[in-house]
Structure formats: C-alpha cells, structure tokens
Amino acid sequence: MSEPVTGITTPIRMEYRYTPGRTTSDFLKAMKGGRMEGRRCPSCRKVYFPARGGCSMCGREFAETVPIKETGTLATFAVVNVNFANRVIDLPYVTAEVVFDGADTTTMVLLRGVSPEEVRMGMRVKAHWIPKEEWDYSLANIDYVEPIDEPDAEYDSYKDLV
C-alpha cells in the first residue's frame, strides 16, 4: 500500500506591472535624484513622508511639496529575531520608525551602526544611501539609518508619533 495523498505543494508566482500614480511617481523620481520629498496637507498642515496624494485623516488633496532632511528621530522600533520565508536581511535586525526632520509621519527603515541592546527611543539618526550609481525609483535608495552624534530628542517632541 502506498501512502495516501493528503496534500500537495503548488508554488505560484505572479509578476505584475505597478502604476504608482501621479504623486508617487513624482516622489520616486525625486528619490532617484537623491532628494527626499514630502507633501503637506492644506487642512491639518501635517507633512507626509513618503509623499502621498492626499491626507488620510482630512481627505484633502495635497498641493505643496516639502523638502525632507536626511536626519531624523527614532520614534519607536522593534528588534526582529525571528526567521520567516522570503527574509533577506540577516538576524537580528532593527526596524526603526523614524520621523525624518520636516515630516510629521514615521517611516519604517533599517537601523544599523548600533547594537540592538543600545537602541533607544529618541535617538537621532541619519539616512545612509546606497551608492549613487545604483539609485533607482525607490525608497530603498535609503539603505539604512545610523546614529549621529547628537543628544536624544525630548520625548515630548515625538510622543504623538509612537
């Protein structure tokens, strides 16, 4: 008697062409040129980075483009120490939610240059870009952020973003 078949594995692959739309296209073109751009809501005045077409909270379309700095504050973070399918970064790694200077939203980026035990909320960090010749239409041009020699930000300055 052979073993009964109770299940089979059928890997599926899907490739698709992604159309990012007007605002994201502008944002990605800026990233390819090495510029970080946000957009400001005309109603609540908050700046979204990455740039988006409109404010999720107010429902208003954005018009104003705002330059965002490469420096920022680590609002909160996780130390990832679990393996999973499709993982490409060595464990453990730190996912940092960074408020880049000029923005009112957090962006999840990789943190390097500090051991996981020493990471703390409020740390000041700076974007480290991949080599210029490899820049693409992607947020991933920012390879990671790393700590800079500045005092930690006051908790009150970022507490609404954690």
Binding site: K46, F77, A78, V82
Partner: protein
C-alpha cells in the same frame, strides 16, 4: 438596540489544533456549522441565509473559498455573503449576520468563520514585499512590536505585564476543551525566559497558528421564542474602520476603536462599561494588547490598563474577567478568532461556557480588531432581552 430583536440561538466550534489533516476547509467549516445547528436544535432547512468570513485569501492561497464552500454550508438556493475585514472578520461577519435578522430580512441566519493556517504560511503572507521599498516587515509581530513599545513608554507599565496576560490566558485555556494550546507546564518563569522574537515581544507572548472554525445561528425574536435552550440576546453591535497610516493617527489607542466602543455601549444602554459588563472576550494576539484594549474600550483610564492585569482584575475570578476561554493567545485560526470572541461572549450569557463560565454572567462583550489596528467589530450580548 437598533432594529428588531435578534438572538444567538446556537454556537459551534471545532477543537482548534495546529493542523487538521483529516478534513478539507469544507469539512472544517461543516463541522462547526453542524455543531451550531445541533446546539440550536435546528436543521439545515431552517436556515434562510449564510454569512461567511475568513482572513485574506493569501493565508491559504485559495482564492474566494466561499465559491466552493456554498455546498458545505448548505447555501444552495439561499443567499450567501462573504465578509472581508482582515483579522476582525470573524466579528464583523457575525455583525453582518445579526443585521440581516435585525433588519427583518431573515428569520434565521447561519454565520461561519474559519482559517486553516496549516495549508499555507500566514507569516509569509504578512511579510509581502511592498513595491519601491525595503522588505523590512516581519509578519504581524514586526508591525505591532513598535506599537507595543510605544504603549510601554506612554503608560510606564512594568515589563512583566505581558507575561501575566499570557499566564492568565493559557491557564484559562486549560478549562476550555476547544482551545488549541493546552500547556499544563506553563509558568511565569518560562514565559519570561522565552526568546525575544520581536523585541519587546517574546515567543510565549504570541498567538499560535491554528486550524479551526466557529459558527453561530442568529435568529429573530419569534425564532428565539421557539428555543428550549437559553439564547443570547444581541444588545448592541458596531463596526468601525480607519486608515492604516495617517499623520497624527494614534496607533496605540486608535480612534476607530474608541468610536466603536462608544457606539456599541450607547446601543446597549451602557454608561459604565466596567460596572455593567460582566466579562469580555477581546482580541489579544500579542499579550500587551490586553491592557491596550482595556483602555481603548473604556474599561480603564488611558495609561492604566496594565494595573488591571497586575492586580488580577482581568482574571477569571477577578472583577472584570477577560478572555475566559484562553483568548487568541491560546487559539488563533485567524479568520475565526473574532467570531470565537463573539461566540464565547454569547455562551457566557447563556450560562453554557462550561468550566470557564463566569458565575451569573448576564452581559458580555465580544471584540475583534484587524489590519493595522484599523478595523474594529464589537457586540454586547445579554441573558435578557434588551430594554433600551
């Protein structure tokens, strides 16, 4: 209460395990539905419509499974609806079913939710690569860990609050024969020493991956009058949503969750939830979400939910028992997890919760959340007909 009266006539669930290799998805949902019908002492012909829910199709890799589940759920020639609200779906599916009765459309509606996690890899499905960005997110834990860290910072809660939630829930699960995790050896020390998967979340503080299904029959006042067994009257329902990301959005204490709680209390005539609700089943996939939701639901003041964990208020014998069944931390067939909360709340007020029954529970709450803490579904059920 809005619309006509409606009540839970019967409930059913499978014994949740990591892999149900003996049944297909159709067999799994049928098992829960058969049990709900048996509990309600009804037959398939008594059902007017079917409402089914599950988490995203990526979790099993079966697109629109409701297409092939129609037969297994007795939906031939009857209306059948599928509900999609990510992890909260089990709750919102039950709410949609209850509205079909409260709206006077149907007399008896069968509602079913399920997940068969063994057939795929939810961690993979939740770690998809987003175009034009780095592949950083590591499953649900990777998304929620920074938010948990935010709660700890904002509230100043002791770091072992999460351990105490898990210990309570896993001990409660030992009283629930349907719970997935039955860990007789669990101790505080074992939880505290388990590996940090997504610092600050430890392995023991995370939900399991389960195969399971849950089902309920919801009926009208006339249908309830024909029942011999106790029913759970629906006193209030609410579903709310908000964006995944937005400037100024509070991810620790989401606005939509607070709105949803306010609405369900208003409908149920509740002005002091801590006093008027006898017990609650709330969606806690990572330990820290218990104190977070205690605050979001208005059981505790902002920043103080952890005190109710530390002083035993939320234990089975406490003043406000939470997750008497062992909760999502002990059983997580994702799509069904919300419905299990609603179902357990119903069984409590029916006096049919078994060993994890809260003595004399008259009003109970079921709660579910999903997505990036952006979809909420709640109901309040009672042993008596609503008066408001």
């Amino acid at each position: 209460m809005s619309g006509k009266l409606a009540a839970v006539l019967g409930t059913g669930q499978t014994k949740h395990v990591s892999a149900r290799k003996d049944v297909s998805i159709a067999g799994l949902v049928r098992e829960a539905a058969d049990r709900a019908l048996a509990d309600a002492q009804l037959e398939w012909k008594d059902i007017d419509a079917v409402v089914v829910g599950k988490a995203p199709d990526m979790f099993e890799g079966v697109m629109m499974p409701e297409l092939y589940l129609a037969e297994a759920l007795g939906a031939l020639g009857k209306p059948m609806f599928r509900v999609h609200t990510a992890g909260s779906v089990g709750g919102s599916t039950a709410v949609v079913a209850s509205h079909l009765v409260q709206g006077g459309i149907h007399e008896r509606v069968l509602t079913v939710a399920f997940e068969k996690q063994s057939e795929s890899n939810a961690m993979w499905a939740l770690s998809i690569r987003i175009p034009f960005s780095q592949p950083l997110v590591a499953g649900a834990g990777g998304y929620f860990a920074p938010i948990v860290r935010g709660y700890i910072r904002k509230s100043g809660a002791p770091l072992d609050t999460g351990y105490k939630v898990v210990l309570k829930d896993r001990l409660n699960a030992l009283k629930n024969p349907f719970a997935h995790v039955h860990d007789h050896e669990i101790t505080y020390e074992k939880i505290a020493e388990s590996p940090l998967l997504w610092d600050p979340i430890r392995y023991a503080e995370t939900c399991p991956s389960s195969d399971g299904a849950a089902a309920m029959v919801i009926g009208s006042e006339a249908a309830a009058a024909k029942q011999d067994r106790p029913v759970a009257w629906i006193h209030g329902t609410s579903v709310k949503s908000e964006p995944t990301m937005g400037a100024g959005r509070d991810r620790v204490n989401p606005h939509a969750g607070r709105m949803c709680a306010q609405e369900v209390y208003k409908e149920a005539g509740i002005t002091d939830p801590f006093r008027q609700i006898d017990c609650a089943e709330i969606y806690v996939p990572f330990s820290w979400f218990e104190p977070m939701w205690m605050e979001n639901l208005g059981f505790a003041e902002e920043g103080t939910g952890w005190k109710m964990v530390q002083d035993g208020t939320t234990s089975l014998t406490g003043e406000m028992p939470i997750n008497m069944s062992g909760g999502v931390l002990s059983t997580n067939p994702i799509g069904a997890s919300g419905m299990i909360r609603f179902l357990e709340a119903a069984n409590q007020v029916r006096g049919m919760a078994g060993e994890h029954q809260v003595p004399d529970a008259k009003v109970a709450m079921g709660h579910a959340y999903g997505g990036g803490s952006q979809f909420f579904a709640m109901w309040v059920v009672g042993s008596e007909k609503p008066t408001s």
